[in-house]
Symmetry: C2
Subunit: 337 residues, 2 copies
């Protein structure tokens, strides 16, 4: 009997989706993207997504404060709405609470949830609190909305489109690495930057709203939660294309580069497969590039072209600084199982 | 530092709701009922609710099959939509999966989910699958809809209204009791009935639709998940009323009565506080009673008047068969913590 370890999360979703293909009339986008979408009115599409964080799998209570955990749980769900070009509106929060958890922990957790919800004008709309025998867990369902017929999906990338990412890559996974032991060569500013990217990521709502101005020139979008390679594979698979990433273009923060060199860490695994960047990865038709650069500069938002969409092979490769090409298989992404 | 054990689920929700009172413009009903509701169009209200089931808290894998668990997880969420007078439309399913779980278990679980979704025309609309270190858990978010301005809530009961329940009470908790050991005096038919009510409850969608015909004569409604007393307290608290239940009217199945008498069990704790009945508990203004009885008879659906709404004391009492009155405090309900 196959154990779940041999199924990736994505394999499971594929298996289930194939069996489970009933669709309602007003479904705009079924499961399989960052959010699913349905149309409740002629002008607005409702976006819905759900994400769980489990103690000792996604976080350790010894390295994240309850307030940070509350902020992060909401932020990573907002990121899914941003990836669709939507605006978050409501959340439902389930907590699985073991006996070791105190009420002051819960107060601080909710303070973090509240802070992030307030910042993005999100209403707490329900939830469930249950006992959990061993581990604390949070499940968040987020609801958002977008104008009808104007959502970003994973399936529209075309050969010749350019691949962009917001922000910098690898900081979050390096922040996680940093939490694994005490002694690293690192300035306090760098430490702060890397930990912040890991513990309290900022969902790219501002950037997502900027990208709405580009309409159908943005041909696909996803948020980088599983790692650049894994998430680019999702775009390629659903768009039936291949992709090449240029190593020398990958955007790195000064803190990231310095930490890697000071501590003799090879940066590429963190950049490519680290996961939890919560940056927006998107493809753009070439005629939109100049305007994109201009708009992001004006908004003081970071965006970088990191590659291009290639032939319909569904393969992803890395063009290295030394001119060699390396294939990047899907399985190298972050995988809980 | 107060541990979570000292907070009931409801205490926690109250604390959070008070702090967290931001409401969006199109919110119809904020958190605190079986579902929260918002209006996406001028004609339809969107209902949303979320519920988690955790291994060894809500179920044991040794006493429920994966298919039954899948059916039950969806059914108890549908029950929340039924309690609002809505129609379920979509679900999002999060699974927390420990290593011991096999892929065939998941296939059977999804077969159960699929069966119930198909029966009620519900679309699987997303989800998350994550590792869980110890216990299997399922979190379901359900979306439904109702006509604008026509949902049942907990806060409209008035003095003189009559209290009704669908179906019979206590079967589910007796089914759970039966699972705790092998040797009970019980016919195989009774066993089947009681286990079915516990393992695969039928959400009262048919009854909910019947009650829609009564419009504002149905003054409040809730589904009995925490137990009759606990859930009646929710109505009384939110309606600012008291209530009296008549012991001799409480509807019991023949299997329930026989099992209790054959095994020397006192029936009242199961009926009043057993929980997981997933029947609809509602209040009706007296001028609707005759029509209610007629409509339910015609539809071959069971409904019983079990009490009446009293003065605004928020207290619930039981009028016993011997004519004595017993107060039923809120804390006697089912409580995970």
């Amino acid at each position: 009997m196959a154990k779940i370890k041999s199924l990736s999360e994505f394999g499971l979703i594929d298996r289930v989706s194939k069996k489970f293909n009933h669709r309602l009339r007003n479904t705009v986008l079924p499961l399989g993207d960052d959010c699913a979408a349905y149309s409740a009115t002629s002008s607005k599409t409702q976006l819905v997504s759900t994400d769980a964080l489990v103690e000792n799998i996604h976080f350790k209570l010894s390295t994240i404060s309850p307030q940070q955990l509350g902020q992060k749980a909401i932020a990573v769900n907002i990121s899914d709405i941003a990836a669709m070009g939507g605006i978050p509106t409501r959340v439902l929060i389930t907590l699985g609470i073991p006996k070791k958890i105190s009420s002051s922990f819960l107060d601080q957790l909710y303070a973090g949830i509240h802070k992030t919800c307030k910042l993005y004008n999100i209403e707490l709309f329900g939830g469930d609190t249950v006992s959990s025998p061993k581990c604390f867990f949070i499940n968040i369902t987020i609801i958002g909305e977008a104008e009808q017929g104007n959502i970003f999906t994973r399936d529209g990338a075309k050969k010749g489109d350019l691949i962009f990412t917001t922000g910098t890559l690898g900081d979050s996974s390096l922040g996680l690495k940093m939490l694994s032991k005490e002694k690293w060569e690192c300035s306090s500013n760098s430490r702060k930057h890397l930990l912040k990217k890991h513990l309290t990521p900022i969902p790219r709502i501002k950037e997502s709203r900027l990208l709405k101005k580009f309409g159908s020139r943005v041909t696909s979008m996803i948020d980088i939660s599983d790692g650049l390679v894994q998430d680019l594979h999702h775009i390629c698979k659903q768009s039936k294309t291949g992709a090449t990433i240029y190593e020398e273009n990958l955007p790195l923060s000064p803190a990231f580069s310095k930490f890697c060199s000071d501590n003799n860490l090879s940066p590429l695994p963190y950049i490519l497969n680290g996961g939890e960047d919560y940056e927006l990865l998107f493809t753009l038709s070439p005629d939109g590039v100049n305007n994109l650069i201009r708009q992001f500069k004006k908004a003081e938002a970071l965006v970088t072209q990191i590659g291009e969409i290639t032939q319909p092979s569904k393969k992803v490769s890395l063009l290295k600084k030394n001119g060699k090409r390396e294939m990047l298989p899907q399985s190298s992404g972050f995988n809980h199982f």
